[in-house]
């Protein structure tokens, strides 16, 4: 004789509760987005607009920040600039209006390219190795498996700077300092521990019976792994790949200590972008905006896998 035994769940919040919750969460989200919106706005401001007070929300957008990001410039006399042939493009025009001429391309795209190469290279390696090892740990009785797995995870507790000291010496010895290969190997090693842990969780969830059925049908274990287990694990592999990618894309400590020039990635490079008299904030903002775009796109496309991956990692430790 209970009034709560209705068809729908009693724990469903009331419409008012939902509305209040929604308003608070949306307000929070909007306030937290202000710094990101500001990065984008600053990237299309002129340098004087970017440092005006009070901060300008209404201004004439310009590509100056992007031009300054992609080029290096030298100051010239107005007479010299007058004597030049007509400007060849927007950036040329903007640069000349500031009494400067373009001296050449900046290092932004090479550094961005390094980030792409190192992040995707190490993600691919970490996920490939991690999938194999996770399958091995999940399906076979490996001696000392628990100790090995715990040790694999504990390597992540060391501050990167602490690991960087011997890595620095080792890389100097083997000629891996400031090389993309060295960074790819390093990031792969850092990520593979997480990849094994996450993927083992996902593969544990796939019933063994699938492979056993496939093997009864005449598949070898390798074929069963390739044709049955891998397709089932796609979601987990995708989630793991995003985590590895986010780490490798964003990493700073190793990059700043182990690379100085040709293999430098974007995170240590962007803060070094300076104009005349300190940081050129529109250029820094432009560099930051471009750098954030790939990871934002990934987050939005793969948000479902991402949510599963994080919660999965949480549930499984």
């Amino acid at each position: 004789m209970s009034s709560v035994n209705t068809a729908h769940s009693v724990v469903e919040p009331t419409p008012t509760a939902k509305r209040i919750a929604g308003t608070i969460v949306i307000l929070y989200a909007l306030v937290m987005m202000i710094p990101l919106a500001w990065i984008f706005l600053t990237s299309i401001k002129s340098p004087p607009d970017s440092i005006s007070y009070p901060p300008k929300v209404v201004f004439t957008p310009t590509l100056e920040g992007f031009c300054n990001l992609f080029t290096t410039r030298t100051r010239q006399t107005p007479d010299y600039i007058q004597a030049l042939p007509p400007p060849t493009g927007t950036c040329d025009e903007i640069t000349r209006s500031r009494n400067m001429v373009i001296a050449g391309p900046s290092n932004y795209w090479p550094r961005f390219g390094n980030s792409l190469l190192i992040a995707f290279g190490s993600t691919f390696l970490a996920v490939s190795l991690g999938t194999l090892a996770a399958y091995g740990f999940s399906r076979f009785r490996v001696p000392l498996a628990d100790d090995l797995l715990f040790f694999i995870l504990s390597t992540r507790m060391m501050p990167p700077i602490a690991v960087a000291i011997p890595i620095y010496l080792m890389y100097r010895q083997f000629g891996l300092s400031d090389t993309a290969l060295g960074m790819i190997l390093l990031y792969t090693a850092v990520n593979v521990s997480l990849a094994v842990w996450l993927l083992k969780g996902f593969i544990d969830e796939i019933p063994r019976e699938y492979e056993e059925a496939a093997m009864i049908d005449g598949y070898t274990r390798l074929q069963a792994f390739w044709k049955v287990v891998l397709p089932q694990a796609t979601t987990g592999i995708a989630a793991t790949a995003i985590f590895c990618l986010i780490f490798a894309w964003n990493e700073y400590a190793f990059a700043v200590l182990l690379t100085s020039g040709s293999a430098q990635t974007a995170p240590p490079f962007i803060p070094t972008i300076i104009g005349e008299g300190g940081q050129d904030w529109p250029a820094v903002a432009a560099g930051t905006t471009i750098f954030l775009v790939p990871i934002l796109v990934f987050t939005i496309i793969l948000r479902k896998q991402l949510l599963r991956g994080i919660t999965f990692g949480a549930v499984r430790k």
Partner: protein
């Protein structure tokens, strides 16, 4: 026996590589890579911590110094101050992130319209590079031109140029705590959300039958059931913030003075500026043992909570 997991009836039918061979084939590359890039350097660091080696003088003679490096590190007041600074950061960031993160997760769990979309929006800060974002926050914190100071003065009336977040001894630590909280609250929120979603509906239904108040339900069901997840989030954030480096480096570089000099910054200074490789290795090992030990004690407590 390696291949024990497969029932013998099926194992007989397996052709090609044996299971044992496959297990090794699959696991060895990862173990080899970890040995080369994680374990070997770790052992090397242990060795270096007993010597007076300096990386900027590779040809100088290397002498064993026994435990002297450890003695020096543990007796160095600067390092103890850095440890206190680190503890201060870890405490406040965890407290703020847990309270705000849990509150957000609780609200999102009300499943209002569009909650999936707004969850994704809230997640964005944690996807970004702490270094790149930290660098930009330096701009937001500028006393004369920064947006942060403008907004604060807009709401409080305090003149924006009268407080300098990054240059003031009292405010600089908070400048870092604010950015870290901005960035990592979503992470705590997600783990808490997983915890809240794991509570079965029937428990609330039973409480409803017993006419337990909403307040009572929150403290007797929601919080205890989500506690293992909250503790897990605290563990992850604790380990990460113990290692905190990039954000501090770009926001304050450890200054003003040494008010924001956390352990990683001290370590970087000793290892890559003073080039005291042996000594800094000893410091690194001490840090590792400390975080490893604390994490282990904590995990034991966590397991107790889980079993309740």
């Amino acid at each position: 026996m390696l291949a024990h997991a497969t029932p013998t009836t099926i194992a007989v039918r397996v052709r090609g590589l044996s299971d044992r061979a496959i297990a090794w084939l699959f696991i060895t590359p990862t173990i080899a890579l970890l040995l080369a890039i994680n374990i070997f350097p770790l052992i090397w660091a242990v060795y270096l911590s007993f010597t007076n080696f300096r990386a900027n003088r590779p040809n100088a003679e290397v002498d064993g110094v026994g435990l002297r490096n450890y003695q020096r590190v543990l007796n160095d007041p600067d390092i103890w101050i850095a440890m206190q600074t680190t503890a201060h950061f870890v405490f406040w960031t965890i407290l703020l992130q847990t309270v705000i993160g849990f509150a957000l997760a609780y609200l999102i769990d009300r499943k209002f319209r569009g909650h999936a979309f707004w969850t994704t929006v809230i997640l964005i800060p944690m996807m970004l590079s702490p270094a790149v974002v930290g660098n930009f926050w330096r701009f937001l914190y500028q006393p004369q031109i920064g947006l942060f100071n403008y907004i604060v003065s807009f709401f409080t009336g305090i003149p924006p140029s009268s407080f300098e977040m990054l240059g003031s001894v009292t405010l600089a630590p908070w400048a870092i705590i604010i950015v870290d909280t901005w960035m990592w609250t979503p992470y705590v929120m997600l783990i808490c959300l997983a915890g809240l979603r794991s509570i079965p509906d029937y428990i609330y239904e039973a409480a409803e039958v017993d006419r337990a108040s909403a307040w009572r339900q929150f403290w007797s069901i929601t919080v205890p059931m989500a506690l293992p997840f909250i503790m897990l989030a605290v563990l992850f954030r604790g380990i990460e913030n113990f290692k905190m480096f990039d954000m501090v480096m770009l926001l304050t570089g450890g200054g003003p003075g040494s008010t924001t000099e956390v352990a990683s910054i001290t370590l970087k200074r000793e290892a890559f500026e003073s080039w005291l490789t042996g000594r800094s290795s000893a410091f690194a090992i001490i840090l590792f043992v400390a975080v490893f030990g604390l994490a282990n004690i904590y995990v034991k407590a966590l397991n107790k909570v889980k079993q309740r």
